[in-house]
Amino acid sequence: TKKEETPTYELALVTDIGTIDDKSFNQGAWEGVKQYADEHDITYNYYKPTEASTAAYVEAIGLAVDGGAKVVVTPGYMFAPAVYEAQTLYPEVKFVLLDADPHTEDYATFKIESNVYAIYYAEEQSGFLAGYAAVIDGYTSLGFMGGMAVPAVVRFGHGFVQGAEVAAAELNVNVTVKYEYLNSFAPDAAHQTKAAGWYSEGVEVIFAAAGGAGLSVMAAADAATAKVIGVDVDQSSNSASVITSATKGLTTSVYAALTDFYANTFKGGTIVTLDVAKDGVGLPMATSKFTTFNQAKYDEVYDKLVAGTIVVKKDAAKVVDLVVPHVVVTVEGAE
């Protein structure tokens, strides 16, 4: 029958809202899948759910399984309830869940089966490094534009403010941070204007933790000859204005999880947080465009994070709850 002629794909990724090239978790995870599969000559494919609902996610996972997937990568916290369902629906399939661990829709029940490997990233540390580096490098007027107040983005933002604080204390300078969520992950003239406004009032660098929306911030920075800090992946190639990027090791961690799977050491049933200690987050120093801040400085603060001499808080309800004496944070709109 025709069905048999349809090709199968051993590795699958189901995308979250946004496209496969969202400059964010979809893209980062996808590159991990691609890299591993290409290197090992394994078939792979991605599936885009018809809409952002648990039902559609479950269905897309079903489709992937139908298509012969042995491992399904699901990037984004929105997948938590879908994977919660799928893990028992498809016990023979392995899931790599990023940014979340499986739970029910109402957060009442958390349960992880042995076929699910859940990965969190210490975005607050990544954000911290970016904030720290920026202030050490001499910037005192910073901005943070988050795509949306989802947990990972919030962690980036809170870390960023804390990093700025530590550096400001070190240099004994005062720093201001404008802080806002755009409610968008897509490029738009509106974001460009917003960023242009910030730059016109003296903001020197904006940390754009907003996927594709960051591209509009870069457009504004280009025009204002101001700076941007990228997010998730190394975004230096997108614009000359990108001084560094607060990355999280999406690609490497997915790659690693797949390596484990084929080595029969899949870490099913575990929830990990990839932090500095596990090389999960950091700044791409090779492509960074700092003047004062340098590799030595980076290593120094990095080690402090690893050693725990600096602890970055990640569960404040609001950014203003963080005590940062040297930094004045002005939040725009609702948090």
């Binding site: 496209t19 496969i20 090239d21 400059k23 893209q27 404008k178 806002e180 897509a186 490029p187 738009d188 003239a189 509106a190 974001h191 460009q192 204007t193 917003k194 242009a196 406004g197 910030w198 016109s200 009032e201 594709g212 591209l215 509009s216 870069m218 457009a219 280009d222 025009a223 997108n238 614009s239 002005t330 725009e332 709109g333 609702a334």
Partner: protein, 320 residues
């Protein structure tokens, strides 16, 4: 409000205002000829796609300004070709003009993604480009105090092209034989027909000009506002339609309406400026301000609508 804020607002109106003007003028030509064009959004997407593909595939072959001109040409041509479909359906087939408009919108979004994935090196829908098109300062004019800062520094060629189109469009519409005939076709096609004007041909011109301008407008909207094109113009085509209606189908008023809307968009996104934060108004109101003010203004200005009488009606010679 201090002058800096004012300058900021005026300067930043431009990226909204120019494309809105261009596209709404396109819509004007179409509707003035008698064909409603709700496909403006799709044509923008389509035109921008090919303009950006061009920039993506042939970088560094020529000087930036030459390249942007070439890209604009390509956006215009692709807009024209694409709008041909709308013209064919609504003129030759006498179809409901909403149908082909909707179809074109759907098609353009899908087609960009489809093609981008097929032909870009990354195999993704986003097509990134290096924005090398901004002109830092126009010699001489840039040195004029205030005005220089406002209009002659950090500008794009498209700004001046947009203004040129405005002038040309007004001239063509009101001062030429073509314009007179076009308007007649949108108001009373039977009258035009009875004096030997080929109504269908005029309508083709109207729709194809709208295609040209919408295609161009799409590219012009994208270039200054991002560094990667993902196949969307975020509803600006529909806003251009609103600007067209708001502008009463007249070039000068369209320009004012686009300026008004552009200003409101900038204000909407400037809640973070010191002046606006000092007002202490909730961000929500800034967000809805362009739409709400448009509604309010329309409420008080719509009682006499100047919409072309025959717009939206297929021309049927036999129907009286």
């Amino acid at each position: 409000m201090n002058t800096d804020t004012m300058i900021f607002l005026i300067r930043n109106m431009v990226p909204f205002m120019i494309p809105l003007t261009i596209v709404a003028l396109g819509g004007m030509f179409s509707e003035r000829s008698g064909v409603v064009n709700i496909a403006l959004e799709g044509i923008m997407v389509f035109g921008a796609s090919f303009g950006i593909f061009f920039i993506y595939f042939v970088p560094d072959l020529m000087s930036p300004q030459l390249m942007i001109l070439a890209a604009m040409g390509i956006a215009i041509i692709s807009g024209v070709l694409f709008s041909w479909l709308h013209a064919y359906a609504s003129i030759n087939l006498k179809a409901n003009q909403t149908i082909s408009g909707t179809a074109l919108n759907l098609f353009a979004f899908a087609f960009h993604d489809f093609l981008a994935r097929l032909i870009t090196k990354t195999g993704t829908e986003g097509v990134s480009f290096k924005n090398v098109f901004r002109i830092e300062k126009i010699p001489f004019f840039g040195d004029i105090p205030v005005l220089g800062d406002l209009f002659f520094k950090n500008v794009y060629l498209s700004t001046f092209i947009g203004l040129g189109i405005l002038v040309v469009a007004s001239f063509v519409l009101y001062k030429t034989r073509f314009g007179l005939r076009l308007r007649a076709c949108g108001e009373h096609p039977h009258a035009a027909d009875s004096v030997g004007i080929n109504v269908n041909r005029m309508r083709y011109w109207g729709v194809l000009i709208s295609g040209a301008l919408a295609g161009l407008g799409g590219l012009v909207l994208i270039i200054p506002t991002t560094v990667e094109y993902t196949g969307t113009v975020s509803g600006y085509g529909f806003l251009a339609l609103a600007v067209l209606i708001f502008g009463q189908w007249k070039p000068s008023k369209i320009f004012l309406a686009a300026a008004f809307f552009g200003l409101m968009q900038v204000i909407s996104n400037s809640s973070g400026l010191a002046f606006f934060t000092s007002l202490g108004i909730n961000k929500y109101f800034y967000q809805i301000v362009p739409y709400l003010t448009t509604l309010i203004v329309l409420t008080f200005t719509s009682s006499k609508s100047a919409s072309p009488k025959a717009a939206g009606e297929p021309y049927d010679q036999g129907k009286r």
